[in-house]
């Protein structure tokens, strides 16, 4: 394998990581804090893409502004979703899943009826890099950078802000945290908004790379779901990074040699095997190890 082949492989690997991270991060944060899986996640991504597309074509706004609108719009929608639907199901997580699936159907079918089977796409910024006979899309490298920035930003909020401390406290012990005067309902609301905003960002960022159709969310959710299952909700940041790195490491070689279908089936099989032995995902396992290490040091 030549250096150029290696560079190409690394590029694909980073591209895949970025896709997994951006597709799954919002969902994982919501799972970790609120302990709910939002099955409408794919449709939130779709909404983000649609807002960007409509703002770009109909309002003629510059692309970054359109993307910002997506983030804000989907974030607000997510908060409304939490307030009026998800909040009622905190006693029954599976019911929340089913209810958000209903929302997902309404959104995708509603988009189909209201806006038609497809929309004109947003042009992809043509930043091509050439190296030894391979060409690489600069835009997708930018997406990798944004994915990293999103992780860093999430880490910063969780570990360097007061809101983050309260959120982590809520994750560990909601009753105790409430007893200390923290409004956990507000935390759930804002977290849902943040996770949704991230979904909107993903949709906006990937809008130039794909066709804008009402069911476009599905291409994101099947990897997002696997990433979330393998990562686990115990620590969204560790879970997202470890899971994305691992899964991209499996799917990149598989799909480049044997095709996308084998790549995706490989991911599903990997997920099944991993949860058989690490039922709470990588972050759950990591958390258990940490507690054991702490125990050994303090005794």
């Amino acid at each position: 394998m030549s250096l150029a082949d290696l560079v190409s492989l690394v590029y694909q690997y980073l591209d895949n990581i970025a896709f997994l991270l951006l597709a799954a991060l919002g969902l994982m944060i919501i799972l970790g804090v609120v302990n709910v899986i939002n099955l409408a996640h794919g449709e939130l991504i779709m909404l983000g893409a649609y807002i960007t597309t409509i703002a770009y074509h109909d309002a003629n706004l510059p692309l970054p502004v359109c993307m910002l609108l997506s983030v804000l719009g989907v974030g607000l929608f997510g908060m409304a979703l939490e307030r009026f639907v998800v909040r009622r199901f905190y006693g029954d997580r599976l019911a929340a899943l089913v209810a958000t699936w209903g929302v997902s159907l309404i959104l995708s079918q509603g988009a189909l009826l209201a806006l038609g089977p497809s929309m004109p796409s947003v042009p992809l910024p043509a930043w091509t890099l050439h190296y030894e006979g391979y060409s690489f899309g600069g835009y997708r490298l930018l997406l990798f950078a944004i994915a990293l920035a999103a992780i860093i930003a999430t880490w910063w909020v969780f570990y360097r802000t007061k809101f983050g401390i309260r959120t982590r406290a809520t994750m560990q012990n909601p009753d105790m945290t409430r007893a200390l005067g923290v409004d956990t309902r507000n935390i759930y609301l804002l977290t849902f908004g943040a996770g949704s905003a991230l979904a909107g960002l993903t949709g906006a960022l990937y809008a130039p790379t794909t066709t804008i159709v009402p069911l476009m969310g599905t291409q994101f959710v099947d990897v997002a779901f696997i990433t979330v299952v393998v990562g686990g909700g115990a620590n969204p940041i560790i879970g997202a990074i470890a899971s994305a790195a691992l899964l991209a490491g499996i799917s990149t070689p598989l799909s480049s040699i044997l095709g996308t279908f084998i790549g995706r089936i490989g991911l599903l099989i990997a997920a099944l095997v991993i949860i058989r032995f690490l039922p709470r995902g990588i972050s759950g396992y990591w958390q258990d190890l940490r507690y054991q290490r702490m125990a050994r040091h303090s005794s």
Binding site: D92, R93, A95, G102, L105, I106, L113, L272, I275
Partner: protein, 357 residues
């Protein structure tokens, strides 16, 4: 009541785990059954075929009721098992079209394939003792992957023997079930009787199952897993059994479907199809087999009517129905009515004791 769990058939049929007891109920039940069996005498071929089509989905719905309502495991994969069985039946029956008994072999193959996939999947999730939300998620992924894969099998190279997969257009010309000289094609009276009798057997069989000791253990697992383990039950194994049974019932519906329509396509294993059994179970009331049976028939009829008058709205309406049911009738419409006006007392089981589901 005899603690040993051996009671008369009458007692088990009338047990507390299911709706509908007493002479009034059973008289109505018998009346409806007789009417259904007598219908071919005065119904048109078209009406018979339609009714058979609605009924053939009932085993799939009842399987999910058992799995979700009684065992607490939400599955979005029933349509995947439905379609796997349908496709495998199509492959085997199509290749053995001139072989007597070939379609029976195909039924075994179709059901076997669904059962195998379910067993493997079930091993990983139940022996891993994963949280409840992981199962529907991974089953959704499975459905998506299968739909996408089958969707791009359009070329001539995508075939087994002489049977083409057909890509997005699906597999056509699937031979109907044939036993002896009877051909169970979609428009035949024989098929109508087959479906009605099978539906009846499945319903009554499941009714007996849920009221038996095994059925009580199944619901005990949903109510308190650790407690049930602490009473000596191999819970992981029991959960695989229930999951496989539900998959087999979905596969049964799948095989009946291809015998009826001689056709199957990737959409029947996709996301929208995956939703349908969940809707029937949620709207009827997953805690009762009868409620799910009624909901399945009603919603299939509704979908069929909508397809004629306003097909594009069908899934939007389904989505609204699902959301509205979860918000306002979380126990299901039929079950809520049964509780309010019939005083039915079976436990809701909406929340697991340890709060983990």
């Amino acid at each position: 009541m005899n603690l040993r769990g051996r009671r008369g058939l009458a007692h088990t049929l009338n047990g507390p785990q299911e709706l509908g007891h007493g002479p009034v109920f059973w008289v109505c039940f018998a009346a409806v059954t007789v009417a259904a069996l007598a219908y071919p005498a005065f119904g048109s071929v078209f009406a018979l075929s339609n009714l058979a089509n609605f009924c053939l989905y009932v085993p799939m719905g009842l399987g999910l009721a058992l799995l979700w309502g009684y065992n607490g495991v939400l599955s979005f994969g029933q349509s995947a098992f439905f379609a796997i069985a349908g496709y495998v039946y199509g492959v085997i029956a199509g290749n053995l079209i001139d072989v007597p008994g070939g379609s029976l072999l195909a039924v075994a193959g179709g059901l076997g394939a669904s059962v195998l996939v379910a067993a493997v999947f079930g091993y990983f999730v139940f022996y891993g003792q994963v949280s409840g939300w992981i199962i529907p998620l991974l089953l959704l992924v499975l459905s998506l992957i299968l739909e996408t894969f089958m969707g791009q099998t359009a070329g001539y190279q995508w075939r087994v023997g002489s049977v083409l997969f057909g890509g997005y257009n699906g597999m056509t010309g699937i031979p109907s079930l044939q036993i002896g000289e009877w051909d169970f094609g979609g428009a035949s009276t024989a098929f109508y009787y087959l479906v009605v009798v099978l539906t009846l057997l499945v319903y009554l069989g499941l009714r007996i199952l849920v009221n038996s000791r095994y059925g009580h253990v199944v619901t005990a697992i949903k109510d308190d897993v650790e407690r049930t383990r602490a009473l000596g039950y191999n819970v992981n194994f029991i959960q695989i059994q229930v999951f496989v049974l539900a998959a087999a019932l979905a596969g049964l519906s799948g095989v009946l479907y291809v015998s009826w329509g001689n056709y199957i396509n990737p959409a029947s294993m996709g996301l929208l199809s995956a939703t349908l059994p969940v809707i029937w179970t949620a709207v009827g009331g997953r805690r009762s087999l009868l409620a799910v049976l009624l909901a399945t028939l009603t919603l299939r009829w509704l979908a069929d009517t909508l397809a004629v008058r306003g097909g594009e709205y069908a899934f939007l309406i389904m989505g609204v129905l699902l959301l509205a049911t979860m918000l306002f009738f979380p126990e299901g419409i039929v079950v809520s009515l049964a509780r309010r006006y019939g005083g039915w007392k079976a436990p809701t089981g909406a929340m697991n004791r340890s709060g983990s589901r």
